[in-house]
Amino acid sequence: MKEHKTSPLVWPLRALGLGALIGVWAFGNGPGGISPLVLPTIPRVLEALGEALSQFSTYEAAAITFGEILAAFIIASVFGLAAGFWAARTPLRLQVFQSIFVWGYLAPLILFYPIFILSFGTGVGSKIGYGAVSAFFPIAYNSLRAFATVQPTMLKVAKAFGASSFQTDFLIKLPSALPLISSGVRIGAGASMITVIFAEMLASTAGLGYQLALNSQTFAAPQAFAMIILLMALVGVLQGLVNLLLTPRRDRGKIINVAH
């Protein structure tokens, strides 16, 4: 990616975008005639946000959501990496499981939540299980591709210098597979966020997603909007953590590929 000088217009343009959003919102409330029951006014939302931030239960809910996403992500990463590594070991397995992982990737797993509720109940377990399953496939698929596409010349070098198969795995295959693995893990992190939060919204008893659904179903619009803002903040923190974890130190500050 080429480095371009940042235009001096960038921040004014961003301010303009934010201004436009607020303007449309305010217009909707005022001259637009949208009922505040449906679209709460900005001061009411800020008030509700302040209220939420002053309550301990909000932090508890955020911690639950955060923990669920983290657990789902870790489980999916461990199993996904192991599955990708195992499946890339022989050409036949590679061909068989590559397709199966792609199918899992393509399947709209977000629809399968009712099954998880039935099997694991509405508690924390079903969110973790569900999040882990949906993050598993992208991680497994990308790891498989990563281990399968190690450059033949590198393997030749390993052979020529008498590396054992264990050494080949850890000194050659793993490092050269890392970039692709990390993009898989990144997609997996996104998938676990999407599924866990949606699962909380659908059927749950705790977490920020549950609070959002509850407020929205009881038509507490300002509170619902406040929850949306909190969830965006939580997602921002999680994304920041994932970036910190996956971006090699030398590449920090640059935008890494955006493929999803």
Binding site: M1, K2, H4, T6, S7, L9, V10, L13, R14, G17, I34, V38, L39, P91, L92, R93, Q95, V96, F97, S99, I100, V102, W103, L106, A107, P108, I110, L111, F112, Y113, P114, I115, I117, L118, S119, G190, M193, I194, I197, F198, M201, L202, G209, L212, A213, N215, S216, F219, A221, A224, F225, M227, I228, L231, M232, V235, I255, V258, A259, H260
Partner: protein
């Protein structure tokens, strides 16, 4: 190898079904919760004759198509504008990328509040999901246009329209293809999510209703049918994409080096 792989894939799927059936048969897991493959198969064949299911499929299909068209049109326009202007890209790419990797479902309540419960909010939400992904991918596709190819167009005196047709479009084609795919996929997911969360009609609503009534077999049959359609669509799309951008493979090495340096 190819047939071996095909047999292997079938074997894995059959083994999975067999394990599922045996686990429920010996009551190791409760068939109320996960049903059994045979029950799901029966429910599936019944489903094909059920007018409730068929009309739900039709209405959801229509919603997805509408969401895809609206979302793609908005996304292509926004993405082209952002791809052509470096300043706009610099200003708005970061917020858009954040939006892209944020679970869009958290905005669902806004759509429901504004558009009500039903088809309208499903379509609008699906279009919103699709538009975000299409915008980013079209803009990223435009970034694939290489300066040296633009220089060729200038040096050989191409008109504005010729430059677009001969250089910009072919360079951006892979990005545009990806964008369209994301448009379909996210219109699909968006509509189903909206239906699943707050609507009693459409496939999403039906899945919820079946699940609430503990009709696990019907729920699974419907889910698997939708999944199957999604996988088929994805596979067809992959083949189509490979065909239309075939030149990229023959120059894969060249493409890799140019993207690494540019």
């Amino acid at each position: 190898m190819k047939t071996q792989a095909r047999i292997g894939r079938v074997a894995v799927v059959v083994a999975g079904l067999l394990v599922w059936e045996l686990l429920t048969r010996f009551d190791l897991i409760d068939s109320d919760f996960v049903s059994t493959p045979i029950a799901v198969g029966v429910a599936f064949t019944e489903m094909l004759r059920n007018s409730e299911v068929l009309s739900a499929l039709a209405s959801t299909g229509g919603n997805i198509l509408l969401a895809f068209i609206i979302g793609t049109v908005i996304g292509v326009i926004a993405g082209t504008v952002m791809g052509l202007s470096k300043t706009l890209w610099q200003a708005y790419s970061a917020p858009l990328l954040f939006l892209m990797s944020t679970p869009k479902s958290i905005f669902l309540p806004i759509f429901i509040l504004l558009c009500g419960i039903g088809s309208t909010s499903a379509v609008v939400f699906g279009a919103f999901e699709a538009a975000v992904f299409v915008t980013i991918n079209v803009a990223a596709g435009m970034a694939l246009v290489e300066d040296r190819h633009m220089k060729v167009a200038r040096a050989f005196k191409a008109s504005w329209a010729q430059t677009i047709l001969a250089v910009v479009l072919p360079s951006a084609l892979p990005g545009i293809f990806t964008a369209l795919w994301f448009g379909i996929r996210h219109a699909f997911i968006g509509v189903l999510i909206a239906e699943l969360w707050a609507s009693s009609d459409g496939v999403g609503g039906l899945i919820r209703v079946y699940a609430e009534q503990l009709h696990t077999d019907k729920t699974l049959a419907l889910m698997l049918a939708v999944t199957f359609l999604a996988i088929i669509a994805g596979t067809i799309w992959n083949h189509l994409e490979t065909r239309l951008t075939r030149w990229r493979q023959s120059s894969a090495a060249g493409a890799a080096t140019t993207t690494a340096t540019s």
